[in-house]
Amino acid sequence: MAMKPSDSRWLDWINVVLLVLAGMIVMTPTAWMILSSFKPSYEVIAFPPKLIFTPVIENYVTLSKQTPFLSYGINSLIVTVGSTLFGLLLGAPAAFVASWTRITWPAVVALMARMAPGTLFLLPWYVMFRQVDMIGSYWALILTHAVITLPIVIWVLLPYFDNIPRSIFEAAQVDGCSPFRIFRRIALPLVSSGLAVSAILAFVFSWNFFLFSLVLSNSQTKTLIAASFNFIGEGSTNWGGLMAAATIIALPPLILAAIVQRWLISGLTLGAVKG
């Protein structure tokens, strides 16, 4: 790259300008959503839209008064936390065994669940859960959402377990340590950061998942994501409320993602990319 230094500095400037521009394009729609959620109802539908206004929390207040927003939120938490714990409980030992014995079925199945369309599973689940009268129950939602969380946990944890030197396990084995004890006392503490990343990713994707709760929840167990479909129906008259709902629903995944941002990409690409 035969370049004069002044040339290169000029290009650096263009680079910064383009990056700022890209950042603005990425950020503006989200900023617009948050801004609209704080607009008074008569200003949110003003045309041309107003950029300067007195922020109010009116939309959030009416949202909590006119809709069972809080109970939707609690439903979302029950399903998301439940399925995340379920995924960790089943996935962490399975990933450990898969890493140790080099069996591949957990990874293959996880990949299969990631590739098939949700409706493919939803059709038989609907029949199965109807047979045992579980449609609308928390368990139906937790179990189906665990189909999202379990593959994430296995895929994220596999490389972490693979990175532990095998000599550590072998030494422990010679000392008479059982596999179960090795897992609990040696392997798990060594992958604690992997556990945190997999838990957060599992939480985010379970929280964000729309299709299963759309069909399998009822009015008692409806999650925020499934309820947002109703908000849109009502939102045609109340944009402020719609944007307030959208802001609250987006908040938990965004905060959690910001915490693990550095490890996120390698987790999301199933380890194909080192972040």
Binding site: M1, A2, M3, N15, A22, G23, I25, V26, M27, P29, T30, W32, I45, P48, P49, L90, G91, P93, A94, F96, V97, W100, I103, W105, V109, M112, M115, A116, P117, G118, T119, L120, F121, L123, Y126, V127, L143, L150, S178, P179, N208, F210, L214, V215, S228, F229, I232, L242, A250, L254, A257, A258, R262, L264, I265, T269, A272, V273, K274, G275
Partner: protein
């Protein structure tokens, strides 16, 4: 030997819960859907026997072919935009060297928020009469657009929203690829006096191909099953112009309750996804260095 057996037992016990769950919730339902898709029904919906009726029906169903077309149209359009813009953004980020956490958080925010929320915010922004997008168009002296309500523009608009959401994801993958390229190659190119353009097209791009194919695989899997955003914004409309195979299959299954036919549609879509992944995997083997 007893100890050895005991160890094997413990290993099996540790993977057993996940195995049981996988068989019950993933493998069995998968086979059940395939089985359902080969059932035949009477006009009243009773199961009458076996056969390829559902698949024959698919071949003559105009809505199925429309679904295939919309799925592929949306897929190719989104994938091309995301790869081109994502690679561009990755090059910008790579040149900037340092990537503070706050900037990274900003760029991951679109794809970590629920697609449903993205749909809600873009519905408001793209509203044909009061939306901010049309306000920008009219203040630039351009005619306003119907966006998601337009039969012609609905797929490009959905592709645009998905591109807004997932381009940073592609960019961060490509950035990972850029950071792993060997610096020695660039030093050699500099000594040889290669031009900037030559360095990009002759060195960076070929070395980056495996990473780009990985990004293509990951995006293909999601894009071919495009669902949430469409269901929230248009539900396949206006007049079926955004009715992808996935949306159509869902509506056949859960609005008309024709589970067998919906199963056949979903099996077909799975084959499509699997085919794309296998094709890209072969491609990756070719471009690997």
């Amino acid at each position: 030997m007893r100890v050895e057996q005991n160890h094997r037992g413990q290993m099996a016990a540790m993977s057993m819960p996940a195995l049981v769950f996988t068989v019950g919730m993933i493998a069995f339902p998968f086979l059940y859907t395939i089985w359902m898709s080969f059932q035949t029904y009477s006009s009243t919906g009773q199961v009458t026997g076996w056969g390829g009726d559902n698949y024959l029906r698919m071949v003559v169903d105009g809505q199925f072919w429309n679904g295939i077309w919309i799925t592929l149209y949306l897929y190719v359009l989104s994938l091309v935009m995301q790869l081109v813009l994502g690679t561009g953004l990755a090059l910008l980020l790579f040149r900037a060297k340092r990537l503070p956490g706050i900037v990274r958080s900003l760029f991951i925010s679109p794809f970590m928020m629920p697609p449903v929320v993205a749909g809600m915010m873009w519905l408001v922004i793209l509203d044909p009469s009061l939306g901010a997008a049309n306000w920008i168009l009219t203040s630039l002296g351009l005619p306003p657009s119907a966006w998601l309500a337009s039969p012609v523009l609905v797929v490009p608009t959905l592709a645009m929203i998905d591109t807004w959401q997932w381009t940073p994801y592609v960019a961060l993958i490509v950035l990972g690829g850029l950071q792993s390229l060997p610096p020695s190659v660039y030093e050699a190119a500099e000594i040889d006096g290669a031009s900037r353009r030559a360095v990009f097209f002759r060195i960076t791009l070929p070395l980056l191909l495996p990473t780009l194919v990985t990004a293509m695989i990951l995006r293909s899997v999601d894009l071919l099953r495009f669902f949430d955003l469409i269901y929230i914004t248009t539900q396949g409309g206006p007049s079926n112009h955004s009715m992808t195979l996935n949306i159509y299959g869902f509506r056949v299954g859960f609005e008309f309750f024709q589970l067998g036919y919906a199963g056949a549609l979903m099996v077909t879509l799975s084959v499509l996804v699997l085919g794309a992944v296998m094709a890209f995997n072969r491609l990756r083997a070719v471009v690997e260095w």
